[in-house]
Symmetry: C2
Subunit: 337 residues, 2 copies
């Protein structure tokens, strides 16, 4: 790799002059500056970036923290964020926290060590008080996950209303005993969903008994287990809100090789409108998040903060969801539009 | 954010002494060093990392370049790599190239600018001669994609044999006109697959006519289009090698709402053993890549290069695949184990 000495030699100038050009310092004639820039180009010389960054403190890189890319919701979110960021000349790096408090903090360090200019948090496992200090090193924006008391911009969906509507839909389809299947660490977003679900049950005078609460269901194989648990131990359960298309797919897949029918014996609602929710037979009733709009706004807000520090108020942007009615809940013909 | 002056003040020592401790320089008593370390801790002071990095040149960060995380093969690969890397204390950042030559080079710059210590390339769109110069800045390892003439370690599967076996399986199931559906930019890996496929056809004396070559199929909706193209224009086609479980799922989904039956009228082979290949009805015959083993070996080889520069020969590690026989090709009962 070319060194500063190589550049000096090729340009026929002193190391000090080269250093002045690299550091944008005065006292170098335009002619000498040109010779040095040309020599740097010819040699493929990149000024030591750590030194450059010491000066400019800019990396034009944004880190996006999320639990895992194998969840298609986050995969699609990243796709959209990346496209938007590249319109502004920013590159995106993806950091998986796997819901680990330590990993989340480790990746936030990228901000402190100036390896990235700003951070988007699409999930949050630490307490806000442990995240807040990193704001001194650069802007952080929430997308998807949110925290009532955080003093940063938040872009998200109204998960409470979404879950409420899904539960009302199941109730209107005649379901009497609806299980709530979720999983992963407790989050604000998760708590909001649960709250919406419970409000619907209360409104319809349905009690939420212990056995309706399943808190370990994350993926397809969990969905399969949920089906067998319901069928063997609580066969009166006739509806499931899963909070996940993968769990819903597992339930439906397993039901198809049993004597139970979806939706007649068991109606199932997923979440996120993943491709699999369309491919399943029956197709899965699910909630569509406005992924692209949320991603675009998040990137826009973050970059505005980078370009005009302090100019952005810590506003909340709440985007509308859509309950997509499909065959996995079609118990009453008339109710499906 | 705390400054070096704050640390000096709290420790009751000079700025120079603090600077000596930060830079691991001598002439500081252990007692003073302890006071300064404690003051840094109390204030949450992080020595300017760019300066630190100038000295140590280590970030303990690995970048993984891949086309997109929404492809579950790459999602799973990243999961496994991250787990392995964290065992060694390395963090992983994910960089999506979207098959763009420019983005690939932009992310390789992370190596040149010392933002990462090493790079794993799970795909490659530039010519090797344009990637090679970055080796001067740090180690690069190929995983999944490979290049015969590249002088770096390569960890991959034998795609030629995998495609050959899949094609032989379709031929043995009685398929006479087998389409080859693929998509995306031409890659070495893609060329190898095609070669294996064509060798099988030749061995069985089947010609590969123009209409059998479909080169624009990447995702589920492409798979749906492929089905309609075959059904309307080339109904004698009775088998498809897709190179993608998503394309296979699209084909099968669309066939299920037509008068065609899979596998009787059209046998379909996917690739990668994604979850969807199991959930489809019929389930999809596919090729399983040894994702975890490849990821583990790749991270191990890269970290060995970081720890012992120059100690690793540019070896190739070829891992075995598995053809998983499922219902989407089950035309002849006896042939399925």
């Amino acid at each position: 790799m070319a060194t500063i000495e190589d550049v000096a030699k090729l340009a026929g100038l002193s190391r000090t002059t080269v250093s002045r050009v690299i550091n944008d310092q005065p006292y170098v004639t335009e002619e000498k500056r040109q010779r040095i820039v040309q020599a740097m180009k010819d040699l493929g010389y990149v000024p030591n970036s750590s030194a450059r960054r010491l000066r400019s403190q800019k990396t034009e890189t944004i880190a996006v923290l999320l639990p895992r890319v194998t969840n298609p919701f986050f995969g699609n979110l990243i796709e959209a964020m990346e496209q938007k960021a590249s319109e502004w000349g920013y590159q995106v790096i993806v950091c998986q926290t796997h819901h680990s408090r330590k990993k989340e903090i480790d990746y936030l360090q990228l901000l402190k060590t100036k390896q990235v200019d700003g951070v988007i948090m699409a999930s949050l496992v630490n307490d806000w008080k442990d995240v807040e200090p990193y704001l001194e090193s650069g802007p952080i924006v929430f997308c998807n996950e949110y925290m009532e008391d955080a003093s940063i911009p938040m872009i998200h969906m109204d998960h409470k209303t979404a879950a409420y509507e899904a539960a009302v839909h199941l109730l209107e389809q005649g379901c009497k005993h609806i299980a709530y299947a979720s999983g992963g660490p407790e989050s604000h977003l998760g708590a909001m969903r649960k709250q919406g679900f419970l409000e619907a049950l209360e409104e319809y005078g349905r009690p939420f008994l212990d056995e309706l609460n399943i808190d370990w269901a994350i993926d397809v194989s969990d969905g399969q287990k949920v089906f067998h648990l319901i069928r063997s131990d609580f066969p009166y359960i006739d509806g499931v809100f899963t909070g996940s298309d993968e769990v819903a797919a597992g339930l439906i897949y397993e039901a198809s090789s049993s004597d139970w029918k979806v939706p007649e014996d068991l109606a199932v609602v997923g979440f996120d409108n993943q491709m699999v929710s369309l491919l399943m037979v029956p197709s899965v009733t699910t909630i569509q998040q406005p992924v692209i709009q949320m991603a675009d706004k998040t990137v826009e807000v973050l970059i505005q903060q980078l370009l005009h520090p302090g100019a952005i108020a810590p506003k909340r942007y709440v985007y509308p969801h859509q309950l997509l009615l499909r065959n996995s809940t079609k118990r009453r013909e008339a109710a499906i539009q």
